[in-house]
């Protein structure tokens, strides 16, 4: 084995290879012994934590974006559309929701929406946010704290009643409004949210609801309920003095423009955040959201240009909002081209609702809450059943565990029935709940301001302020 060459012992070829293999074997066993099962588990946890942190970061940003949609997004959008003497009162209707709904949600609203409960309503397990902490609830979102989920959902609970204020702008008492919308969030919003997104909910497509309604970010929960409630409010409260003979112009389309752009950007939190994680589904929903907004802005402007001769700025931004409303239930279920199509349709339909249908029926939905949110939400919920695709987001499985179609064009025509069920329930709950609450508040506190106050303006008479003073 050994031969002597000079001062160094040299090994034969075979011996050299045997030594190398022996050394390698030793090295590997040494390495294997230095990574213990404990260390492997630790590494695993770090990876999981990193993923959770990424999801949580996105969700917290999304929650902030959605709150921004209410304040100042919606406040500006609506504020610019009313007469100067009512600008502050209109903004306060949104702002009050930011404050009041937060408290209600914390105490009992979240529990009624997302507690276990039954098919229609949650329970009191999370009263005062009991049990809502850093630990995730895997039924809802496995990688983020339940507290993140709660605060994200809170922002939806805030904006939904704020949307209704568009119907009764310029004539509703602040006190009556606060009480009415607070009760509304408990009687209409929490139950609807529970049915579509809560454990055991009748319409919950993710958790085995009896009538699985695909509603990614709240087409039925937010837009149909608020839009239909808005219509009921407009009819119950009656028209503004001198409407429609006197035409009330927006006092600042500039403010509305700024607000609408904030709504567009904020909507990325609303829709893409509804993926409840920072992965590719969020991306898909983000893209669908943006495309629908753009397409709808174009189609509303085109409709207005053709029918009235001008593409107005107010039309452009209203179109974008209509598209965003329509894509809300569909965002995480449809592809980008479908999103464009949904937007194109929504722009035209909502334009006609606002420019023609409202005049035909003669109701005073001051800021078109029903025309855009009620109609757009209904349209979007139905179109979700048309365009939803398993290739974007697999939702349904057959008995063997194979993924099946999501929507009409994906081989699941039956889904349209489920969508219709969700829409009908939303309409019914919103209409009945709103009517009852309006009556109750009207009999106790009163809803409408006096004629004198309406003429003087609500900023002065309800809030003791002027939006713009001379000095």
């Amino acid at each position: 084995m050994f031969t002597l060459q000079g001062n160094f012992p040299s090994l034969s070829r075979g011996a050299r290879w045997s030594c190398l293999l022996l050394l390698l074997f030793f090295g590997l066993t040494l390495c294997a012994q230095t990574v213990s099962p404990q260390q492997l588990a630790d590494l695993q946890k770090q990876v999981t934590d990193a993923r959770s942190n990424a999801d949580n970061a996105w969700m917290l940003v999304s929650a902030a974006l959605v709150l921004m949609m209410t304040g100042p997004g919606l406040a500006l959008f609506y504020g610019g559309l009313v007469r100067k003497k009512n600008v502050l009162s209109t903004m306060m209707q949104s702002f009050a929701m930011m404050a009041v709904v937060t408290v209600i949600w914390a105490v009992v609203g979240f529990s009624l929406a997302f507690g276990a409960g039954n098919s229609f309503i949650g329970n009191f397990q999370h009263l005062f946010l009991h049990g809502v902490g850093a630990a995730p609830d895997p039924d809802y979102a496995a990688t983020i704290p339940l507290q993140t989920f709660m605060v994200y959902q809170l922002m939806f609970a805030i904006i939904t009643p704020a949307l209704i204020s568009g119907a009764f702008a310029e004539r509703m008492k602040f006190s009556g409004m606060v009480v009415f919308l607070s009760l509304w969030s408990l009687v209409v919003y929490s139950p609807m949210a529970h049915m579509v997104w809560g454990k055991g909910g009748l319409l919950n497509a993710s958790l085995g609801g009896r009538f699985p309604c695909l509603d990614f970010a709240g087409g039925t929960v937010v837009h149909v309920t608020s839009g239909v409630s808005a219509l009921v409010c407009a009819l119950y409260l009656g028209k503004r003095k001198n409407y429609p003979t006197e035409i009330f112009r927006p006092h600042s389309v500039v403010l509305s423009f700024v607000g609408a752009c904030m709504l567009w950007v904020g909507w990325f939190g609303f829709n893409a955040g509804s993926a409840l994680s920072a992965g590719s589904l969020a991306t898909s929903a983000f893209v669908a959201t943006h495309f629908a907004a753009a397409a709808a802005a174009l189609s509303w402007m085109a409709a207005e240009w053709i029918l009235k001769g001008y593409p107005s700025a107010l039309g452009g931004i209203s179109g974008a909002v209509a598209g965003l409303v329509a894509i809300t239930p569909a965002a995480g279920f449809v592809g980008p081209m479908s999103a464009l199509l949904i937007g194109l349709i929504a722009g035209v339909v909502c334009y006609l609702m606002v420019a023609k249908v409202k005049a035909w029926f003669g109701y005073d939905d001051s800021l078109d809450a029903f025309g855009v949110h009620g109609a757009g939400g209904t349209l979007g919920a139905v179109l979700t059943g048309v365009f939803a695709s398993r290739y974007v987001n697999p939702m349904f499985k057959d008995a063997q565990g194979n993924v099946t179609g999501s929507g009409l064009f994906d081989g699941n025509a039956h889904q349209l029935l489920n969508q219709a069920t969700g829409v009908v329930i939303a309409w019914g709950l919103a209409a009945v709940g709103t009517l009852v609450l309006l009556k109750v508040v009207d009999l106790t506190i009163g809803l409408r301001v006096t004629e004198e106050h309406e003429v003087q303006g609500l900023d002065l008479t309800q809030h003791g302020e002027e939006g713009y003073s001379m000095e």
């Binding site: 009235k308 001008y310 107010l314 606002v354 420019a355």
Partner: protein, 113 residues
């Protein structure tokens, strides 16, 4: 003393101010106004609804109180600066002014102009 009120197109304001300055007229009040003469405005559009009392067009109103001697020259200067030859150029109104008071030192009469 004569009060001169001129309703002019907003786009001619700078030229008129310049002309007045060159004449040594230093007291001037400018108001944003809306109005129309025989020419009407065009309808405005808000979410498909036509707002036809959009007849009122933006205007600028000048108010100057002058010594009687300079009135004719001032009128000529304003007309030449504000005239475009088209409908909507505006109007000048002249009226008698009873008294003027300088608030700073309570001077009265043409000294106060």
């Amino acid at each position: 003393m004569t009060k001169l009120e001129a309703v002019i197109q907003p786009s001619t304001l700078d030229a008129v101010k310049q002309a007045l300055l060159e004449m040594g007229i230093e007291g001037l009040t400018v108001l944003e106004a809306r109005g129309h003469g025989r020419q009407k405005g065009r309808p405005e559009l808000y979410r498909g609804r036509e707002y036809s009392p959009g007849l009122l067009l933006p205007k600028i109103k000048l108010e100057i109180v002058l010594r009687d001697e300079v009135v004719d020259d001032v009128v000529k200067a304003i007309v030449s600066a504000a005239q475009t030859g088209k409908i909507g150029d505006g109007k000048i109104f002249l009226s008698h002014m009873d008294e003027t008071v300088r608030i700073r030192n309570e001077e009265r009469g043409s000294e106060a102009l």
